[in-house]
Symmetry: C2
Subunit: 502 residues, 2 copies
């Protein structure tokens, strides 16, 4: 089948450089792209080159750049290096971009991913000038067949004044049928989302667009660029083991069954280890209602342990992305990609009683969680969908090694230096030392559980802080605000949260 | 009509003291009661007396006490004073109870109200031994007609081993028809909640119970006890004015219409002023999808400005409670009381595109909000439903005077000493100096807007902190953790956040 099956749109094929000329300084640009998949692969470099040229000539050129989530070096990376972005929204994880943000060269607004499409549509970011969306194919009617992710594409295409399509022939044509495109209507009169089980399909396999808004079609043939996972290390294996203990205990308490566990899984090396652990578990008919499809889910599908995975995008290692592309006709029987608004929607998440599982930067002794700002200031990636799932899960869990940077940093601290998930939201926190079940506990009852999963070297320091705080401020949540950040201050001063000589 | 129309249950009538004997030390007791309405009025005092007797004899007696939300002096108050509670859940606002919690005599677990019923049902607090629920009437089939609120009654009655009913003849029989009782089913296979407009009724007007679980029926004739509102002061009027400016601006931006504004309103004096402001506004057909019915809503209904109000309970001044009781047959055409799970459910809140409006203790320069712990430690009331509405509103707003305690405390601080609503959640913050619209802004872009609504005396101090933080930590969220709590520390030391001589 031709990749561009619509005559009118075939007439709009041009080079990326030509298309980039259609994007003026100051434009609000909204693109496909979610955790390294389905992002535009030609335009960003062309825009970055244009920015560099203009900057060299002393002319201003910056755009506001809205996506689904993080993209890749040849998208976020090149644009950040060219200082081509004024404001970025809503999630990023590219090292160059992170640096640009933390150096103040670029603004970054970070919010819950389930809210992003609605906020854009409502004009929180002004009007969307151009949508740039990757597709696998354009059908005869001008509909787009999504590639390796959906993200905010539907709402961006609906909202944008102009549309640029990248048709990427690297993406398998067999991806057609995986996407389930559904529009959430407007209020008043908005309807419910009729998903009752993870695998329910409620929409079309293509995105219908207003063809008259398309100003350019650009052909590409480039792979998605995701980082490979690190091999599963000992600590990750231990964390995975404790997470499985938690699941087993849930079964014992009658809150979970071996059949039909609905999971959400954040990205990262530890979540991948958890999925590897599930391979050898008693759980069957596992279902993922989650944000991204990861290697571990593919393994679970292959092993017959996972019956269905619903997400908004892939987040696969290069090896697995290749495999997915080759066997898309097979995997589309098990995998559904949905608009981000749907994959992360509180309505559906609450309905499914799922168990969420995400990484964290640090948690404090009362169970407040920092997912975004190292030492309160330096942005790492963003909150992503972790709030959508944590807040609406039946049980929310977080997983983390007890220390970072070879022990110089404790993941459990007296007071979290930034808070993304509050004490009202985090229920179970897992490290290589066990799991802290905070459900139903008052703040002070949580402290011993949190200290028990801290690294043994840090336990006496945390205990001493709590004892001191309780002595000076014996209230609901004992704190001595003069000492609350002492771990972070010591780190800044000495390079370690551990006192010298301790 | 007889208040106890069922023969079997009439046979179980006994005194409160007799009924209290059925509640052993260590019991998990779950009751009706929500913001001073519909709480049991006889049993708590009887339980408190029993506790005091046993304590006098050196015997232990404490219960775990779960409710809908706060209650009143003759419920939370007497139990706290008798040290009769081990763990309290999930919201309280009684001065004696607050003191007992902050003195460590009582545990308190505080979570989002929409989650509480599910958490109890799932056994996060162990099994529920006894439910004590106030009703207006018991019908011939043994069904309960709810009184001035529903709260968690349905789920508590379903979960409890034993049931004690208080039939309160002070409550008007005309309340019958106001409640809309709906059970959210279990997963897998859980259905959507079929509410599409604020006024949709989806259930029954009574709560059907397992009559065989009833161990006692106690007759009472006592009023709900809510505090009267303070007269609307100048500052509240100014805040209300700026909130109305915000609404008018939303209309101008095409995000809101004069017809059909859906509001949520937290409790307190300032929200009441906002509703008074709406009386003279251009808004018509105002609808409240909110947690509690307040005086201001009654006034809006009387004025023909509010077409329907949906909540889980009343939170009325004594005067308005009296009026509601006398004219319940009239008001039930406009008012619906729902189970807390439904009134606060993310699914419905998101569907309705409402604008939430809640009070706060403090907010920081980046828009993180503290609703619960003064100076990070001392619990005020709890998070209540503020997270349910803030997270799921189309636009979330908070209102606060710029200072508390005659200027000694600034409501805008460098770093919030406790965080209940994150920078990802709070969108618009209103003080008597204007409204700070944080939507679409990066953390650093928010700072000038937040400083602009701070009290003029505190503005230079906040600006100096930010400039300093940006100089020492020029990253996404500039902070100097060594100084982050300087306002709070100064307050603790000197009694004021303002430096001496400033
Ligand atoms: C929080 C988060 C960064 C943790 O990532 P992870 O891969 O699970 O965990 P890791 O332990 O491998 O940590 C990642 C990096 O953060 C660093 N880090 C972790 N904790 C740290 C801390 N307390 N202080 C400083 N750095 C820390 C690690 O050292 C590592 O850095 P490196 O790449 O330079 O080695 C990641 O989970 C995240 O971005 N979460 C927010 C979004 C989210 O939850 N998305 C899922 C949504 S659906
Ligand atoms: C935060 C909250 C306590 C503010 O209450 P309010 O009535 O709107 O505001 P007020 O300004 O009248 O403050 C109430 C009290 O807190 C005190 N207070 C306010 N800010 C303070 C601060 N930063 N530090 C110390 N005390 C403070 C006030 O002085 C006042 O105390 P007083 O009663 O001794 O005079 C209240 O909104 C709340 O409990 N919120 C959480 C739950 C919620 O939002 N529920 C609505 C849900 S649906």
């Amino acid at each position: 089948m031709p990749r561009i099956d619509n005559a009118e749109l075939r007439g709009k094929v041009m080079s990326a450089d030509e298309a980039a000329q259609l994007i003026p300084h100051g434009a609000v640009v909204a693109t496909s792209g979610f955790t390294g998949a389905a992002y535009p692969k030609a335009l960003p470099t062309a825009i970055a080159n244009r920015a560099k040229d203009l900057h060299d000539r002393g002319e201003p050129y910056q755009i506001d750049f809205l996506t689904g989530a993080s993209t890749a070096p040849d998208c976020d990376g090149v644009l950040a290096e060219a200082d081509a972005i004024r404001l970025r929204f809503p999630y990023q994880s590219d090292p160059s971009m992170r640096q640009a943000i933390n150096e103040g060269r670029m603004g970054y607004f970070d919010t819950h991913l389930s809210h992003t499409a609605r906020q854009v549509t409502a004009g929180f970011f002004g009007k969307v000038d151009v949508a740039i969306v990757e597709a696998t194919r354009i059908d005869a009617d001008g509909n787009l067949i999504p590639s390796s992710g959906v993200g905010n594409n539907v709402e961006f295409l609906d909202a944008a004044e102009k549309i640029i399509i990248e048709v990427n022939s690297w993406q398998s044509e067999d991806l057609e049928g995986m996407a389930d495109i559904y529009r959430i209507g407007a209020a008043p009169g908005r309807q419910h989302i009729p998903i009752y089980a993870t695998g329910d399909r409620i929409g079309t396999t293509y995105i219908d667009i207003d063809v008259s808004k398309v100003v350019a079609v650009v052909e590409t043939d480039l792979p998605d660029r995701n980082a490979p996972f690190k091999p599963i290390d000992h600590v990750s294996k231990q964390i995975a083991g404790h997470f499985l203990d938690f699941l087993e205990d849930e079964v014992r308490f009658g809150r979970l069954r071996y059949d039909g566990y609905v999971m959400q899984s954040g990205v990262g090396n530890v979540p991948n280890a958890v999925m590897a652990g599930l391979l050898d578990s008693k759980f069957e008919n596992i279902q993922a209602y989650t944000e991204v499809i990861q290697d571990g889910m593919v393994d679970l599908i292959d092993a017959g342990k996972m019956s269905v995975a619903s997400a908004t995008s892939f987040s696969l290692s290069p090896e697995y992305a290749q495999k997915m592309n080759e066997e898309a006709a097979h995997y589309r029987k098990y995998i559904i990609t949905r608009p981000l608004q749907v994959s992360n929607h509180p309505e559906v998440i609450r309905r499914l009683d799922l168990i969420s599982n995400n990484g964290l930067i640090e948690a404090d002794i009362y169970g407040n969680v920092n997912s975004t700002n190292v030492s309160g200031s330096r942005i790492m990636n963003g909150i992503g969908g972790s709030g959508d799932f944590t807040r609406n899960a039946f049980t929310s869990t977080f997983i983390t090694p007890s220390v970072a940077k070879h022990g110089a940093i404790s993941a459990i601290v007296p007071f979290a230096s930034h808070i993304d998930h509050t004490e009202h939201d985090a229920m179970v926190i897992v490290s290589e030392y066990g799991y802290a079940d905070l459900r139903g506990l008052s703040p002070q009852e949580r402290v011993p559980r949190m200290i028990a999963i801290a690294h043994p070297d840090y336990r006496p320091l945390l205990q001493e802080y709590f004892d001191h705080a309780k002595a000076t401020s014996p209230q609901q949540t004992p704190h001595d605000l003069a000492r609350a950040f002492e771990f972070h201050l010591r780190l800044a001063e000495t390079g370690s949260m551990m006192p010298r000589g301790a």
